[in-house]
């Protein structure tokens, strides 16, 4: 039998329930002036003030050791903070990547000095990170990366171009994936390494904006021209970049951000439909809610696996594939129920949220691994690739 285990997530403990209630209060106060349209930016909202408030209140680095500014709480307590943030449409962009994957990578692979320098800043909501993986000729085929770091005394000299780097223009650090070996045909995945690069203080690094389909500036091109990075900013071992990146992806692909991107539209849809007595609306919302509840359970199940140090790469790919289908389907489901002309700059909440979601939804099955890549990973997990 082909088993793809999704173990039952544990029932909420008293601590989890208390935290949820406390954190909902925190969000209600912090976000009281945030409009539905702003909330619909979901994790693309970037607000350093909010991230600092999260850090001060102890909601970042929740599972990390206290010696690094963490709070030694459970993975499920962290999950509560993450899902409640997204469901409320909080502007989490200034701490999102760092809290989700950069910090955990530094804890796993970093030197003592790197941990001492960076983890307390992340936990305080003061260090924003971005992900330096994609390149002009290396998108889904990450192992084709060409950016190269060459050792030069106490430094590495880095040359190459990274593309689609969300928030490179705002963030403080990037974890850069690049080639340190010869990069011959026999050495695609081997011979790669990761570096912690200071975005504000690296000579030879230039960052250029790329405006997306929605007219917004999240993407950037990062150009490294003989950029100098201190050798002690190598993350993990030289040549182990591929393994490190792969272990990051299970964290990146299984979270609630993979199915909650259009939650604000769902809430606004309910606000409109609550005034109607429509059988079709009831039935449709029932089916949507069932999909959402089951995705949430699958995602919490992967959290349980990661908590137990199990390999959850296959399960995470399933959550992201099914999750993106769900969040991308919502605009069309809404359009079957309510007539509105989408306009992200509209005064009306519903049309504004719909406009923002319609324009952004196409990216949800691209970022973090395309639908096609995910299905390839799942097929490999099934033993047919």
């Amino acid at each position: 039998m082909t088993a793809i285990p999704f173990p039952s997530p544990p029932a909420d403990t008293a601590a989890v329930t208390a935290l949820r209630s406390e954190f909902r209060g925190f969000l209600a106060e912090q976000l009281k002036d945030r409009t539905p349209r702003q909330r619909s930016d979901n994790w693309y909202g970037f607000d350093r003030g909010f991230s600092r408030a999260m850090g001060q209140a102890g909601y970042l680095g929740m599972t990390w050791p206290k010696q690094y500014g963490g709070h030694e709480r459970s993975a499920f307590e962290r999950y509560v903070v993450v899902e409640e943030s997204l469901a409320a449409g909080a502007p989490v962009g200034a701490h999102w990547i760092a809290d989700r994957q950069s910090g955990p990578s530094i804890i796993k692979y970093g030197t003592q000095a790197q941990k001492d320098l960076l983890l307390p800043q992340i936990a305080a909501g003061q260090a924003a990170f971005c992900i330096g993986m994609s390149e002009p000729d290396s998108g889904s085929d990450l192992a084709a990366t060409r950016t190269r770091a060459i050792r030069d005394g106490d430094n590495y000299r880095i040359t190459g171009t990274k593309l689609w780097t969300s928030f490179a223009h705002e963030a403080d650090w990037v974890i850069l994936f690049c080639r340190t070996g010869s990069g011959g045909p026999a050495e695609r995945q081997a011979g790669t390494s990761q570096f912690l690069v200071d975005l504000k203080n690296t000579p030879g690094l230039t960052i250029r904006p790329i405006i997306d389909l929605a007219g917004q500036h999240h993407f950037n091109e990062m150009h490294f021209e003989d950029a100098i990075v201190p050798a002690d900013m190598l993350l993990g071992a030289e040549g182990q970049g591929w393994e490190q990146v792969m272990s990051e992806l299970a964290f990146e692909r299984s979270g609630p951000e993979r199915f909650l991107s259009s939650i604000e539209l769902l809430k606004q849809l309910i606000a409109v439909l609550a005034a109607r007595d429509s059988d079709f609306a009831q039935i449709t919302l029932g089916r949507v809610t069932a999909r959402l509840a089951v995705l949430r359970r699958l995602s919490r199940s992967v959290t349980a696996m990661l908590h137990d140090k199990a390999d959850a790469g296959l399960q995470a790919a399933i959550v992201k594939d099914v999750g993106a289908l769900f969040e991308q389907a919502l605009p069309d489901i809404a359009r079957e129920l309510v007539d509105a002309e989408p306009d992200p700059r509209a005064a009306a909440a519903y049309a504004g949220v719909l406009g923002n979601i319609v324009l952004n939804a196409p990216s949800w099955s691209l970022r973090g691994g395309t639908r096609e890549i995910l299905r390839g990973i799942i097929a490999r997990g099934l033993g047919v690739r």
Binding site: F6, K267, T289
Partner: protein, 327 residues
């Protein structure tokens, strides 16, 4: 291990010939006797009631196994009926049992009908929900009004009651919810079987000089099928937990997503098989016809979607997310 014992039991008594007879509506009496002798009708009860004392995970494993083996007998229904009867303090079934809603009680007499009861003619008793109470109706309490069938070929009879009703007992929880949760697990099990058959077929069937599973278009369909299986499994667990705490909205959520996965998964599995999947000589049909049967039983998709959708609308925009996290 319980699952291994059951696999051996089904291997011994449910061969292809027996399954084909069941698909013609024939009662597999010898198989039932063996299943009963192994204690399965009481499996969901605690040890002290003569049951297996299973954990939630083990309960799911047993119910999925019944789906995976497409067992053409009312084993799951009997387990569920006994769980309800035990919870209500009523005597347990002494043979095969069914789950039904219907009929009316007036002047101490049960009359009226219940529609499409699985194997109604072969049951020893029925766990019947009438007006919020549970009754243990013996076989003598009904006659067969109409012999109808499920897509699997198994009987689903409409029955007419005429029985001097006893007191019955308060229902522990909604009877349709009990049936819907059980079916969600069976659906997940049938999808396990469908995925296994589809993987085996596409890995061995060669066209254009290579196994079908080497084609990327096929691989991606297999990935989607795995996604539907994952959703159905999680949905069944969700429904089972919600049933245990008496949360109808949670049962609705789990049941609905399992029903959706049944249709989506059956389509992919059949398509990936090509014409052989559309025959009775190849075993996939047992699982697809079961999936198409189970997804519409114990309150259909509309019944449960309406219940959950009303709850969502009642929660409103601000209460919606708290409602979702409570499911």
């Amino acid at each position: 291990m319980l699952a291994d014992m059951l696999e051996r039991l089904f291997d011994a008594h449910l061969d292809d010939a027996a399954l084909a007879r069941a698909a013609q509506g024939e009662w597999l009496g010898a198989a039932w006797d063996e299943i009963a002798a192994n204690g399965l009708p009481l499996a969901l009860l605690s040890d002290d009631r003569g049951g297996f004392g299973l954990s939630a995970a083990e309960t799911g494993e047993v119910l999925r196994l019944l789906g995976r083996r497409a067992v053409p007998l009312p084993v799951a229904e009997t387990m569920a009926a006994n769980r309800l009867l035990a919870a209500a303090g009523l005597p347990l079934a002494e043979g095969a049992a069914g789950l039904a809603e219907g009929g009316t009680i007036a002047g101490g007499r049960l009359t009226g009908t219940a529609s499409r009861v699985a194997w109604a003619d072969k049951l020893e008793c029925l766990a019947l929900s009438v007006g919020g109470r549970l009754y243990r109706v013996p076989r003598a309490g009904w006659t067969i009004a109409e012999a109808e069938h499920a897509l699997t070929g198994e009987p689903r009879e409409t029955i007419t009651f005429d029985w001097a009703a006893d007191e019955g007992a308060p229902l522990a929880h909604d009877l349709l919810a009990e049936g819907a949760a059980i079916r969600a697990f069976q659906i997940a099990g049938a999808l396990e079987a469908a995925l296994d058959l589809t993987l085996a077929h596409t890995s061995t069937r060669v066209q254009f000089g290579k196994p079908l599973a080497r084609f990327q278009a096929v691989q991606h369909e297999l990935a989607k099928l795995a996604g539907e299986l994952a959703c159905a499994t999680a949905a069944a667990d969700l429904a089972g937990e919600a049933l245990a705490r008496g949360d109808l909205a949670g049962v609705a959520a789990g049941s609905l997503r399992a029903r959706e996965a049944a249709g989506n998964g059956a389509s992919i599995a059949t398509q990936m098989h090509g014409a052989i999947g559309f025959t009775r000589e190849y075993p996939l049909h047992r699982h697809t016809t079961a999936l198409w049967t189970w997804r519409d039983e114990f309150g259909g998709q509309v019944h449960w979607a309406r219940l959950l959708g009303k709850a969502a609308l009642a929660a409103g925009a601000d209460g919606y997310w708290p409602m979702v996290t409570s499911l």
